[in-house]
Amino acid sequence: MIRVRDHTATLGLVLGLLLLWEVAGQLRWVADGTLPPLSGIFTRLVSEWREYSPHVIATLRSASLGFVFGNVVAVLAAVCFCLWPLTERLFRGINIAAFTVPPIAVAPVLVIALDGDVARITLAALLVYFPTMTAALAGMQSADPGAIDLIRAYGGTDFKLMRHLRLRNALPFIMSGFQVAAPAAVLGAILAEFGSGARWGLGTFLLGSLGRAEPDRLWGIGLTATAIAGLGYALSAILAARMTDTNRAVNVSVAAPAAEAATDSQWKRAMALAAAILLPFLIWQLLLWWAELSPIIAKTPLGVVDYLLTGKTAASAQERLFAALAETIPITIFGMLVGLGVAFGLALLSFTSPIVTRALLPFALVTQTMPLVALTPLAVLVFGRGVTVTLVITISVTFFAAFVVLVQGFALIPRAAFDLVSVYGASTTKKLNLIAIPASRQWIFVAARLALPKALLGVMIAEWLATGKGLGNLLNQSRGYLDYGMIWTVAIVSILLSILLYQLAGLAEWWLSRRPADGSKSWN
């Protein structure tokens, strides 16, 4: 009966928090009424539903088309990468770029190069690709080696293996990839509505409503967008749960580079690396050639080099870019560290008092599924336009994925380790100190790698919509001046920055792993 009592307590806490929101809204506690009561938001939402529906339909349409296209490409790519591992190595540059690219940096170019609907669907699909591809690949590669040997022994080809074993094995993984992909599709669709001049869509509606000074409308739109993203998440979670015995309600996969075949020569590895780095640039050049854009808009790789390094624009461009980077980089790293700290604290809390964590989870899930662009105006209402709002947004987008990874990490600690110290009468705090905290170190880095691109995106969106500083603002201003050289530069620099930070996290992990702390992995 403990389970039932636990659930009642969780439900009670959730209701309590919702009630607190209602009271805070009614009494105008937060920033002079910018946090309206829940009841007010919902009454308004229901009474205006006729106005909402065409916008909701438009966003649903582009988000779901993007979801479908992105997933088809992702699964096909995963099949190729699994069948021919060389392709995975060649496409590693593309994959990392797809993972690290801040969508607001590519949105302006997509919106101008493609027509409204296509731009929205493409951006949604781009954000969907990586989570599904990695999940599917991990699923295919984790097929039971015994079964693989069996099929091989009976003369099964790689294709047979794929059809009868790997794809089937990957299904639950793909479903869990969908959980990350579904909210991402909604974010992509809304981001590309900004700037496209579309008549319909929640992003358009949000922009039109910003000028009305009515927080309840803004909250209504934000919560509607969240509901759509949350619905996609929930559907994928249910499908995933039905396909596996264990409930993978929350599962975040991280692509760890597969170990290169030991037989490969140095030369062969260097060639693959060079190809992986060159391929994104080649595709960039080909796409521009294909799209037939005006040279004012389309900047080739060499065009960007000219703009930033060798041309007559170089001095001014470098000055503006470095000033922006100096504002963006520190807050990105700081926000990510605080986000990781919050995740770590919550994960520890889940150890000591699981009920509190379970009550907080639904709210955490909301910040995870709420499209960033809808979250930002609300955060501005409550927190103003200073450093705080940037930090709040960055933390809220980074901590959840990190939290999930850490909790999964804790769950992998063998029970025997705890039983052992329990026998010696250790308190919960002792258990944390002795076992959980040292064991979490490796997971912290996995979490950090996941969080980094999100942190950069969070900071750039906050800068763009709220504070008017750094890369986000530079991007926005360059659009206004049709300075496409700078737009491409910011897009490329933000991808390179993400990759650099990503590699730094890997380096830090490698450095720390050489000096194991006392007590870590003591059960191995």
């Binding site: 920033a31 002079d32 910018t34 106005e51 065409p54 916008h55 101008i112 190069a113 493609l114 027509d115 409204g116 609907d117 296509v118 669907i121 900004f194 700037g195 496209s196 001049g197 579309a198 008549r199 319909w200 358009t204 509606f205 922009l207 039109g208 409503s209 910003l210 000028g211 009305r212 000074a213 927080p215 409308r217 294909w290 854009l293 005006s294 004012i296 808009i297 105006p377 501005v380 209402l381 103003g384 336009r385 763009w464 919509l465 709220a466 504070t467 008017g468 603002n473 926005n476 201003q477 659009r479 206004g480 001046y481 049709l482």
Partner: protein, 325 residues
């Protein structure tokens, strides 16, 4: 490679509905013209909606395609990308891109003789001149930052004396006192502020030396050459639409409630206020869109103050002459 030749078709197939309207191939079809507006559908474009609904464009033999704008739509981009033949733009960005990047644009008319952008503050803490902006926090849409810097320079104020933050077209921070002023259309925001129970104070950048047009009618040189007849027809029909709309500024906005203005998140009362407030900024003795030498010089001189070096030949007044003839 067959897909290469069909790539536009491929995009069309992907984009199903919306793709059809905006492709360069379409934009250059005979007797059709695609215009890119500068903002979401509001009273700023009432004249065009009147002209479309009343069939003024059709009467001129023109099939007009209307693309809405928005806070993040840069109208000139639509021309460069071949999505539109004609765009309503802010002349400062247009002339900047012509001067600095050699964009092949011409301005063939001006909707607003006086740019409606101004500094809006609350009447209980009014800011009535550029001088009073010193030490204040001013919210400005990133696209308009150069306009504000020009106005400050013209009035001898150092731009570092004013704290400029990005403006998201939301007057809430102003009403809550979080910021001191914002840059917006004075034809529009004061109404929203009144609705929130406050009173607004404002001044036009135009009245403090930044004498620019707004919603300049911009086309590429290619379109100017290839579709001159259509452009003249557009000017003629649009002018008729505006004059019809201004006969009584309260008549048309309610008629667009369920068509042009539906789903914008704004009220019809707001549009009526806007429509009335914009009339004096658009009227000219030679008719809507007129560009006289004095006005053109004022534009060029204002922009020269922030280092944007335009020239008289950016403005092509010969189409307006054909309209009048």
């Amino acid at each position: 490679m067959p897909f290469m030749t069909n790539r536009r078709r491929f995009i069309q197939l992907l984009g199903a509905s919306a793709a059809v309207t905006g492709l360069p191939g379409r934009a250059f079809a005979a007797n059709s013209l695609t215009m890119q507006a500068a903002w979401i559908n509001d009273a700023e474009f009432a004249g065009y909606f009147v002209a479309i609904d009343a069939g003024f464009y059709q009467a001129e033999g023109l099939n007009l395609n209307y693309l809405s704008g928005g806070p993040d739509v840069i109208p000139e981009s639509s021309i460069i990308a071949g999505k539109a033949d004609l765009a309503l733009t802010s002349p400062d960005t247009t002339i900047k891109i012509i001067a600095e990047q050699g964009a092949p644009f011409k301005i063939i008319g001006a909707q607003y003789q006086k740019n409606p952008v101004g500094i809006v503050s609350l009447a209980r803490a009014p800011i009535n001149s550029p001088e009073e902006l010193k030490g204040k926090t001013l919210a400005v849409p990133p696209v308009n930052v150069i306009s504000v810097q020009a106005m400050l320079a013209i009035n001898g104020i150092n731009k570092s004396d004013v704290n400029i933050i990005p403006y998201a077209y939301d007057p809430t921070p102003l009403i809550k006192g979080e910021i001191d002023a914002s840059l917006d259309f004075v034809t529009n925001v004061p109404y929203t502020i009144e609705q929130a129970g406050e009173e607004a104070a404002s001044f036009l950048l135009y009245d403090f030396g930044y004498k620019t047009y707004n919603d300049a009618v911009v086309v590429s040189e290619e379109v100017l050459k290839g579709k001159r007849g259509e452009l003249v027809a557009w000017l003629k029909a649009s002018r008729k639409g505006w004059h019809t709309n201004f006969a009584d500024t309260a008549v048309y906005p309610p008629k667009f409630k369920n068509t042009w203005f539906s789903g914008t998140g704004r009220t019809i009362e707001n549009e009526i206020y806007f429509n009335g407030a914009q009339r004096p900024l658009m009227e000219h003795s030679d008719g809507v869109f007129a560009m006289d030498e004095e006005g053109i010089n004022a534009n060029l001189e204002s922009l020269a103050r922030i280092g944007i070096k335009g020239s008289r030949d950016i403005f092509d007044t010969t189409l307006l002459e054909e309209v009048e003839a």
